[in-house]
């Protein structure tokens, strides 16, 4: 439950799980430090049969640390037809990136979505792309968490699937250039139509921020807020939960805004970006409990691929 099933607005009744972002990952491409792999997983437990054709999946890239995107990668899916679905990917830069709209240059057009075990990969130099059903790489003892942190090492997600969106990009597409710092921040959001506009009803940066720190229907409010407003709106809430967990309330200043910080010049994992094998839960448990709880006893999945699209074959 990094961000799986995190808010009532994303779950039946009334919500659409296909736009529920479960996790995001950002890491150096293995063997090629000039490229990065960006992954957005959605649709927990594959409750929905396809990606949403109404929504816009939007991966935001903040290049200057102001919690506002200067670059965006946007994924717009077709309607499911005859068991097939395609997706067009755009890259937006500058003032356009933060806008809630399907704008930007098309970098990949009509890529096929994979619903079977074989990954249908689209090469569009310098990009590489995959979207489809895959094994959920997230690992966590969910029952232990529900049982007030009495972990037994039982990985709830080991046999679950998600829908993955995987994009290989040259770091230049993330803003890299001479003299430009390689530190960026990434977060994903789901936008849905509301009249003629698109509105944000889901977003995620680091794992488990909304699920652990927000209460009940307030989770919807968190999802609808832009990260740039996180510190002002949610610091008190996060501090309260940190205190309840035995952690240091000052950590709220690290956890907010909810953006995954990533230095594409480094292969180090979480908190620098996030690799598929990073035990983010163990790291976060140690942080938020002040060292009181250091592990849930669960390890990374063994079905990950060592090549693109890296996500394991679906169960």
């Amino acid at each position: 439950m990094a961000d799986h099933l995190d808010a009532p607005g994303l779950m039946p009744p009334g919500g659409d799980p296909s736009i529920d972002i479960t996790d995001i990952y950002a890491f150096q491409k293995p063997g090629d430090a000039s490229k990065s792999i960006l992954i957005v997983n959605v649709n927990p437990l594959t409750l929905a049969p396809a990606f949403s054709a109404d929504a816009l999946y939007d991966l935001q890239v903040d290049t200057n640390g102001d919690a506002v995107a200067e670059i965006a990668f946007r994924f717009k899916f077709s309607a499911l037809s005859g068991g097939n679905q395609t997706v067009t990917v755009r890259r937006a830069a500058g003032a356009m990136a933060k806008m809630k709209e399907n704008s930007g240059d098309v970098i990949i057009a009509d890529a096929p979505v994979s619903f079977g075990k074989t990954a249908r990969i689209t090469d569009a130099d310098p990009y590489r792309f995959f979207a489809g059903r895959r094994s959920d790489p997230f690992f966590f003892d969910l029952f232990g968490f529900l049982n007030s942190f009495m972990f037994t090492g039982d990985d709830f997600f080991v046999d679950k699937n998600v829908f993955g969106i995987v994009l290989e990009v040259p770091n230049t597409a993330l803003g890299a250039g001479p003299g430009i710092p390689s530190n960026i921040g990434v977060f994903a959001r789901s936008l849905v139509p509301n009249g003629s506009a698109l509105v944000q009803i889901e977003r995620m940066g680091r794992p488990a921020i909304n699920t652990v720190f927000m209460k009940g229907k307030a989770k919807n409010g968190f999802n609808r807020t832009d990260p740039v407003d996180d510190v002002e709106q949610f610091t008190d809430t996060v501090e309260d939960v940190l205190i309840a967990l035995g952690g240091d309330p000052a950590l709220a200043g690290v956890l907010l805004p909810d953006i995954l910080t990533y230095d594409y010049g480094s292969a180090a994992g979480f908190l620098n970006g996030r690799n598929l094998t990073d035990d983010v839960i163990d790291i976060e448990l140690g942080l938020v409990t002040g060292g009181g709880v250091t592990t849930d006893g669960v390890a990374a999945h063994e079905d990950l691929l060592n090549k693109f699209p890296f996500l394991g074959r679906p169960h």
């Binding site: 099933l5 779950m11 007030s148 720190f213 927000m214 009940g216 939960v241 967990l245």
Partner: protein, 156 residues
């Protein structure tokens, strides 16, 4: 063996004898409902993990017991979402049906004993036998959750 039926159960749970005689419905929040023929149904919910942490899921117990035959069924489900924001998504591997094997008064409450009907629904390290305490006066139910005792709130 203690006699237990609709009349003395109502005494146990604190409803006055006048109301019993009149067969009145007591529309109190959290009141277990009579469904006829000494049958009692109840629904109780708790957020998981327990407070003070924000709840991620809701532990839902729904039961129907026959006080005369001391039998019945109780379902246990964990739904995604906190009690005030509950979805209809049951988390896989956490649903159980409990067959009631005994029902007895216990102080001011009702003690229900049962066993998980399908042994494949019993998780590693979990006991297949279950004891549930329905305490109408306090508006709570106490039931096990993987070795811990969870307090649920009765819902009407």
């Amino acid at each position: 063996m203690d006699e237990i039926n609709r009349r003395n159960f109502l005494k146990i749970v604190g409803v006055g004898s006048g109301a019993v005689a009149a067969g009145a419905v007591v529309p109190t929040l959290g009141m277990p409902r009579w469904t006829g023929n000494d049958a009692l149904s109840f629904r109780a919910v708790a957020g998981l993990p327990a407070e003070p942490l924000p709840a991620y899921a809701s532990y839902v117990l729904e039961g129907s017991v026959n006080l005369a035959s001391r039998t019945g069924l109780v379902s246990r489900t964990v739904l995604a979402g906190a009690p005030d924001a509950m979805s209809d998504i049951a988390l896989p591997g956490l649903s159980q049906t409990i067959r009631v094997t005994d029902v007895r008064p216990a102080g001011g409450a009702l003690r229900i004993q049962g066993i998980v009907s399908d042994r494949f629904q019993v998780r590693r390290g979990e006991s297949p036998t279950v004891e549930i305490l329905v305490d109408r006066l306090r508006g709570i139910v106490r039931a096990p959750f993987f070795g811990s005792i969870v307090t649920l709130n009765l819902r009407s």
